[in-house]
């Protein structure tokens, strides 16, 4: 039990330092809705990078990836494949989104849809999709926190209680910090996580097998099928791999918090340069996989694959080190959870509730409703986390299947004059309907393809077909979108 106390003390210390840093970063600024949600404008390359990179390293990266390497085997490689590719998508579309966001002082993703398609109902639908899909994502973070505390306390604190504590800390953190505070806590978490990942990823195979090479040789010997697709699963083969990678690469910057983070860039070129270097940031992923693969041989028969990494660390290292890794992991869950809940609450208040139900609300009232929603949404995520036994990766894949449905509306809206409001509305409705149907009826993967990808294809087809038979009626939208208005020769004055 003393080991549990040591580990938990260190975790609490790290979380405490992180929370203080967030409060401090915030306390020097006046907070209105815009400060709270987009941190004012004029974030330079560093802060934008932190906000975006902060979302690259989440509990999903930390516990989810090693857990899937442990329980599924080679299909986990889809993560390593999509992470560089999402930056390719970002390279081409984020600068254009950012231009529009900066020019019209947009705050949220639905604001973008409202500007481009001129329909508050479409923008409310986009907000609803965002709020809904962010739920499994924040649920994932709370589950991760629960796992960390459960393992680090040697089972003394049950997962439900741990998640309840996590809920309180995360909600308090969001309430007082706002986006700027949260971004700075990312620095602490990324440094800690990088250290933990490199050390654990190299030390664990060395201690048990004498190196990474011997570990893979032993694994290939003992479980020859674990290291090629479909690994330990029956239905996650190459078709699933390709469709999931494409879905997530397209879906990544459709997450409302990341989409809106691009508005905070001081200029669009920052985003292109970010996209070039960001794939290097994924170098910790292979190390997480390695820990999961080691656990296949060292810790067979774990009841919950999400616990593979933490259990491996507990078995291998002294309690204080378990505390450091747990603390890094806890911040890695809290920071993204805070950003996600903040975004979700703002979407609900600003783009769903006010325009549809209460057009006379003032900005101050919207701000207060958003803060109330933080509590409510965190409560929902907590409820789902307690009542669900899905793996962290499966949770995120559900979120992606939904959020990627916004991709056609964004990309066609950026590059085509022909796409119409009705077309995008129909496309999103068809995509979300198809995703919900396939996943809720247990048809994921569907004929070997990721259900979200199937829905995305239907979404694209619907958007294009309906756009062809309806007319674009938003007056002047070509001037609103710099890309559409500018022919290549005249575009040079814009940035």
């Amino acid at each position: 039990m003393t080991s549990g106390i040591v580990a938990m003390t260190i975790i609490s210390g790290i979380v405490g330092v992180g929370a203080l840093a967030g409060f401090y970063a915030k306390s020097r600024r006046k907070m209105d809705l815009e400060q709270w949600t987009v941190g004012g404008r004029g974030f330079g390359v560093v802060l934008v990078w932190l906000l975006m990179a902060g979302e690259m390293y989440t509990t999903f990266t930390f516990l989810g990836a090693s857990g899937w390497a442990y329980s599924r085997g080679a299909p986990v490689f889809y993560i390593l494949s999509y992470q560089p590719l999402l930056n390719v998508v970002a390279f081409f579309i984020l600068p254009l989104i950012s231009d529009v966001g900066r020019k019209y002082r947009l705050q949220t993703q639905p604001d973008f849809f409202l500007l481009r398609y001129g329909s508050k109902h479409l923008s409310a639908l986009v907000a609803l999709v965002g709020v809904t899909c962010l739920l499994p994502y924040s649920q994932l973070q709370l589950t991760g926190l629960g796992v960390i505390v459960e393992v680090a306390s040697y089972g003394a604190i049950s997962r439900t209680l741990a998640m309840f504590i996590a809920f309180t800390i995360v909600a308090a953190f969001v309430f007082v910090s706002g986006v700027r505070g949260v971004a700075w806590v990312s620095v602490i978490k990324d440094v800690l996580l990088l250290f933990a990942a490199v050390f654990v990823g190299i030390a664990v195979p060395y201690i048990y097998f004498g190196g990474i090479g011997p570990m893979f040789a032993a694994l290939a010997q003992a479980k020859p099928h674990h290291l090629t697709m479909p690994g330990a699963t029956r239905d996650l083969g190459h078709g699933w791999f390709i469709s999931s990678v494409l879905l997530t690469a397209m879906g990544f910057y459709m997450w409302p918090q990341l989409f809106a983070a691009s508005f905070t860039a001081r200029n669009s070129n920052i985003l292109r340069r970010n996209a070039i270097v960001m794939p290097l940031y994924s170098i910790t992923m292979p190390l997480m996989f390695i820990v999961g693969f080691c656990a296949v041989l060292v810790l067979p028969g774990l009841k919950d694959s999400n616990m593979a990494l933490m259990t491996m660390v507990r078995k291998t290292f002294p309690a204080w080190f378990l505390g450091v890794v747990g603390g890094a992991g806890a911040l890695t869950a809290m920071v993204p959870a805070a950003i996600q809940l903040l975004t979700s609450a703002t979407l609900f208040a600003k783009n769903l509730f006010r325009p549809i139900l209460a057009p006379n609300m003032t900005d101050g009232e919207v701000g207060r409703l958003a803060k109330l929603m933080v509590l409510l949404l965190t409560g929902c995520a907590l409820f789902l986390a307690i009542h669900s036994s899905l793996s962290l990766v499966s949770l995120l894949l559900i979120g992606y299947a939904g959020i990627a449905q916004l991709f056609p509306g964004v990309v066609l809206g950026l590059f085509s004059k022909r796409v119409t409001t009705v077309g995008v509305f129909a496309g999103i409705a068809a995509g979300i309907g198809c995703t919900a149907f396939l996943i809720l009826t247990g048809r994921d993967p569907y004929y070997g393809l990721n259900a979200g990808f199937v829905a995305l294809c239907l979404n694209f087809a619907t958007t294009i077909l309906v756009s062809l038979v309806t007319t674009a009626h938003v007056a002047g939208f070509e001037e609103l979108m710099p890309v559409l208005a500018a022919t290549p020769e005249t575009a040079q004055g814009r940035s």
Partner: protein, 75 residues
């Protein structure tokens, strides 16, 4: 920011082909490279090759403030 050029889009397509669509060609354990399975090694390579492709695309479509004549010669 103007529309991306065809050349930069083609450069962006390379990582999609190399790191995703061609999976049946490289999804195998042998030959192990530096002690890791071939598919694992292949995907780690693309963490480094993708920035190269994007850097090329950046050079092809330089930002408006930089004059095109100074760009694209050092590749």
């Amino acid at each position: 920011m103007k529309r991306p050029s065809l050349g930069s889009l083609l450069l962006g397509l390379i990582p999609f082909i190399g790191g995703c669509l061609s999976v049946p060609l490289w999804d195998r354990v042998d030959p192990m490279v530096f002690g890791v399975p071939f598919n694992f090694f292949w995907l780690v390579c693309w963490l480094f090759l993708t920035p190269l492709c994007l850097w090329g695309a950046y050079r092809l479509d330089p930002p408006p403030s930089e004059t095109p004549s100074e760009r694209g010669d050092a590749q």
